[in-house]
């Protein structure tokens, strides 16, 4: 049991605090993508992908591309192209070890999110990869997710957080840049952070 100094609750105690879920909340969970879910995905340029290794240790990573990049190939299967990244391949290594995977898909301006849970594999099928070409780049790999659960998550979290409010964007001015964070965790001079930031802005021009 994790020791934090706080009392850890069991599910009965948690239920005692929250009460039972209401009927309609459970009814909206389905096992396939209906027309509305397909339309949601076709307009979604961003998702987070959660995976876990053999022991269940979790990892969650951002995925973004042209809207519709989480491509439904039928109502129970979606495909996600693997684009240029850091090549650490945490998510893909996890998928190989433990196929369970979950997606949380976002549409800019929309507070509801689409949750898709299922089992994934990594493939290099050439026909599939060709259909995932973007900006004349064909991905080398793709993740195929067989859907087990789909549901639209209510918008309260994004509403409370004001995620899509233009005025909220000034928050980023108060957060260190990636170069500053990198220099600090590596114990380098802050000036090296500026060099890293400049190199990153160059690297960010090549997205595919």
């Amino acid at each position: 049991m994790l020791s934090t100094g706080f009392r850890a609750l069991g599910i009965e105690e948690i239920r005692g605090v929250l009460g039972e879920p209401e009927g309609p909340s459970l009814q909206k969970i389905t096992d396939h993508l209906d027309e509305n879910c397909l339309r949601f995905l076709a307009h979604s340029p961003f998702a987070t992908l959660a995976t876990a290794d053999r022991d269940g240790t979790c990892d969650c990573s951002p995925r973004g591309d042209y809207p519709g990049f989480v491509r439904a190939i039928d109502d129970r299967t979606v495909v996600i192209p693997d684009r240029l990244g850091n090549k650490i391949a945490d998510s893909m290594r996890n998928i190989v070890d433990n196929g369970h995977a979950a997606l949380l898909c976002f549409v800019p301006g929309m507070t509801e999110t689409l949750r898709i849970n299922g089992t994934a594999i990594v493939t290099d099928d050439p026909t599939l990869l060709r259909a995932l070409e973007q900006d004349h780049t064909v991905p080398d790999l793709a993740i195929v997710l067989r859907i087990e659960q789909v549901y639209l998550h209510c918008g309260r979290a994004l509403l409370r957080g004001g995620l899509w409010d233009a005025e909220m964007q000034d928050l980023a001015t108060q957060v260190p840049t990636s170069g500053q964070i990198w220099a600090s965790t590596s114990g380098w001079d802050p000036e090296i952070g500026d060099v890293i930031d400049e190199a990153m802005s160059g690297a960010y021009r090549a997205l595919y």
């Binding site: 397909l38 339309r39 076709a42 307009h43 340029p45 042209y66 809207p67 519709g68 491509r71 026909t127 060709r130 259909a131 995932l132 070409e133 973007q134 900006d135 004349h136 160059g202 021009r205 090549a206």
Partner: protein, 315 residues
């Protein structure tokens, strides 16, 4: 992500099913104002709300200044554009359109033979309608797999005896060699269709009579092999910028990254939007538009400097 600079927001006024796989779409200015003029053979770059951008030939009437008509085939292996249009696009939606460009314009030959296969009917139909109205010597053949796959069949029929439909499922594959063998000297051939069709025509080009030429519009890049892709230096003379183009990036991307204004739409060397004049240096033309290897225009999305050469560009 693509920008919308220089693109006109147009509203989808009408979506019509022409065949099981083809929709025609009528676009207009939201307030009904006139649209930029065009000539038969012209195409537009059309960008969807998803930022997917594709090229479509205009297939309506150039005299209609208030709307454009395009036709979109559902691709089996859609990269996103045709699938979105067929599944999610609705009347009333906005799409973004770059003013028409014409890389497939009719010349003034004494006679014209117009050939289309499948969705290739779009620019060819506009050409036929134009030639029918000016009373020149012309013929058109539209090939399709089945009768149900012939888009705009009524409009083709209305053009009279000079226009005919060839249904390969009923009459066998269109014998292009026989079609070309029958043309009079000086006839220009205009053709549009899938790669197998345009490639077959190109292979027959040497059999054409004196004074005849073939003009092709392709949807897909010509498949050709090139030597290794290497880095080279390019100078944008008017911008006063010199860049090193690495092997893994295109000239267009590299110039854009350095703040040099270059457009780009198909990014596959078929649409022509990224053309830049060349002032100095040898070009390896890897696009599917250039017919003269000595051309001093470079399509920067795919073409590069010839091995060992550097380029100076008028941009």
């Amino acid at each position: 992500m693509r920008t919308r600079t220089g693109l006109l927001p147009l509203v989808v006024r009408e979506i019509t099913r022409e065949t099981p796989d083809i929709l025609s779409i009528r676009l207009a200015h939201p307030d009904g104002s006139p649209l930029p003029a065009w000539q038969p053979g012209a195409h537009v770059d059309l960008q969807l709300i998803t930022r997917h951008e594709r090229q479509y030939s205009l297939c309506g009437d150039p005299a209609d200044t208030t709307s454009y008509r395009i036709a979109v085939r559902r691709e089996q292996l859609s990269r996103g554009g045709s699938h979105y249009i067929h599944t999610f696009l609705r009347t009333g939606n906005i799409v973004w359109v770059r003013p028409p460009r014409n890389l497939f314009a009719l010349g003034d030959a004494p006679a014209h033979l117009l050939l289309a296969a499948g969705i290739g009917v779009t620019p060819i139909l506009a050409m036929a309608r134009h030639l029918a109205s000016t009373g020149g010597d012309w013929r058109m053949i539209v090939a399709a797999r089945t009768r149900a796959d012939v888009a705009f069949a009524d409009e083709i029929a209305a053009l009279g005896d000079r226009a005919r439909v060839h249904v390969s499922g009923e009459d066998g594959r269109l014998d292009l060699a026989a079609v070309l063998a029958g043309i009079a000297p000086g006839t220009d051939v205009y053709a549009c269709g899938p790669a197998a069709f345009t490639d077959a025509l190109l292979a027959l080009a040497p059999t054409l009579p004196e004074g005849s030429g073939i003009h092709l519009e392709r949807f897909e890049p010509r498949r050709r092999a090139f030597g290794p892709t290497t880095a080279f230096t390019a100078t944008a003379a008017r911008s006063g910028v010199t860049v090193e183009v690495p092997a893994e990036r295109s000239l267009r991307e590299t110039l854009q990254g350095a703040g040099v204004p270059v457009e780009g739409s198909c990014l596959r060397g078929v649409c022509g939007s990224c053309a830049v004049p060349v002032l100095d240096g040898a070009v390896e033309h890897r696009d599917s538009l250039t017919t003269d290897e000595d051309s001093r225009v470079i399509y920067t999305c795919v073409s590069r400097a010839a091995p060992g050469s550097a380029l100076v560009l008028d941009v």
